[in-house]
Subunit: 197 residues, 2 copies
DNA sequence: CGAGCGCTTGATTGAGTTCAAAAATCGTGG
DNA sequence: CCACGATTTTTGAACTCAATCAAGCGCTCG
């Protein structure tokens, strides 16, 4: 099960195969049942999960008890509360599993050692961080400027696979609209496409 | 004018004073008049600006011609279109000056050389990237979950100084509401505070 | 096969927008 | 230092997009 993570590390050129073996003992496989909570508000997030199979997801709860999805992590994605993981602050979010999920987790030690041992690791990691920032900036821009319909269209364009695997109500919570709202958006889109023919 | 940048580099422990002097020739001072555009949609952003005095700001334009502020950069902040700067893509945003501004800019070369020459640079830079991600995550969470009033209260709490220096209509464009909307929010808040006495 | 969860639909409400115009503030040149 | 034009803020009235509340439908999985 850790094979996929190994492949990821080598494919992204973080490390060579032999280098990877030096830190393999820091990589811990876990099975997570659908619905299981991996992190709760108030805890310190000391694990970063790499998803081999399944989907993990991070979200916040507001005072009204509503969920707001921060990130989906399907196969080959890494998820953690970065603030908490990196700055050792109590987390403001939750992480749970949307499907029965096979994952591996690493702790901060892994990053520290990898950065020290593998000359390429930091470079690849920096690239990943920039990529992350790029995506978040685009998301902010969409939240600021686009209607519910446009946000949804962008989502299914960008994450086609996710839009099929994840319940609508969670997509809605990612887009900042209600499940009912998303249902109506989809209805409208269906009508438009029908009328085009 | 480059002194503030030097101080910033040394204070954050990116480099020592003597190290800094090795790359000083890559740091270019510029004066930017209020209203001047530094980057336009479609251009490649090859400069990252560090603000010594004044305020720079990045924003996007939607199809309706409305501005959406992505970032404010007052003194001691760095601003650039990260996507464009790092990935050499045409930019989707604009950068302009909200006040007459003294700044310095560096190009990608500066980061490459600094990363190579200064053993501490990458570490500090990584920290800065994580901090950036943390702030963007919080902003996304607010855009997903909070009302106009709450977003505004959070803004003036977090950026007290900015909320006094920057026109309301630009704060509105940062919060994802209209100037009229923000005006009404402020009126309501004033009423609430008045009635509390 | 029944209970629960997710999706849809309808009716209503409401937060925030839009459009328009007045009031206040700012900045600049005479 | 004042005046005038431009920009920003406020206010009002009508409107709209999306939220809320409530009910019914349809899956699926236990």
């Amino acid at each position: 099960m850790t094979d996929l993570f190994k492949k990821y590390i080598i494919d992204t050129q973080c490390a060579t195969e032999s280098q990877y073996e030096e830190v393999e003992h820091l990589v811990h496989p876990v099975n997570i049942a659908k619905g299981q909570l991996l992190l709760q508000e108030g805890e310190i997030c000391d694990k970063a999960y790499f998803v081999c199979k399944g989907i993990l997801r991070s979200y916040t709860l507001d005072e009204a008890g509503k969920e707001h999805t921060i990130q989906f992590a399907p196969e080959n994605w890494i998820i953690a509360d970065r603030s908490s993981f990196y700055f050792h602050e109590p987390s403001e979010m939750y992480i749970d599993a949307l499907e029965n999920t096979e994952a591996v987790y690493v702790q901060k030690e892994f990053f520290d050692i990898a950065a020290k041992k593998f000359e390429n690791f930091t470079k690849v990691n920096t690239l990943a961080l920039h990529n992350n920032i790029r995506h978040m900036e685009k998301r902010i821009n969409y939240l600021l400027s686009a209607s519910a319909e446009k946000r949804y269209l962008k989502f299914i364009e960008t994450y086609r696979d996710l839009s099929l695997r994840v319940p609508q109500l969670l997509i809605a919570s990612y887009l900042g609209i209600t499940p009912e709202g998303l249902s109506r958006v989809r209805k409208e889109l269906a009508n438009k496409n029908f009328n085009r023919d």
